[in-house]
Symmetry: C2
Subunit: 105 residues, 2 copies
């Protein structure tokens, strides 16, 4: 999970995720959205995202079309949510241990 957070902590990688969130897009078109860095830099970011399983790659002729693996991002969402739900769990455990002291109702 730390890995995923780190991966998305890179602004361009995070932006790529947004770009291909709902529509697959070839590498060159993705790179065109980042005029301030070379295509190579974006290709390397795509490689990281692919290896981390955050995007899927589909080949079509010479092109490679990327799309988001929303399931992986859903894991991140669940992880963030777990900060809250785990604290609820702690409260529940605390309540239970209180009940044990008092005996069951």
């Amino acid at each position: 999970m730390d890995t995923m957070l780190k991966t998305l902590g890179e602004p361009r990688r995070c932006e790529i995720i947004r770009l291909v969130w709902s529509t697959e897009m070839p590498a060159t078109e993705i790179a065109n959205h980042f005029p301030d860095v070379t295509r190579s830099a974006i290709s390397q970011h795509l490689g990281v995202l692919r290896r981390r399983g955050l995007v899927n790659e589909r080949r079509d002729g010479t092109r490679r079309l990327y799309s988001v693996n929303q399931g992986e991002i859903a894991k991140l969402k669940a992880f963030i949510d777990s900060f809250w739900s785990n604290s609820l769990e702690k409260l529940r455990d605390l309540a239970e241990s209180h009940e044990q002291l008092k005996g069951p109702e």
Copy 2:
């Protein structure tokens, strides 16, 4: 937001957030949860978390008690959620432009 993702991408910082999520805790006690690194390393992580506004510091004698600023983490939660809601927004915009082509119902 990239900053927050990067900040939590560090495993120990992420763990610190969990530690002080629902109960404030003095720096030394936090450091004791990480036997593999020095207290200095943890102090530096706490400094980062404080500067980023992710934790609050309260002084009590020589101790410094840290607690999570849940509001900041809530922003991250909202950001992750926005990946989904923004794609809904795009669908809505798409539907609207279709209606313009057809004329209003």
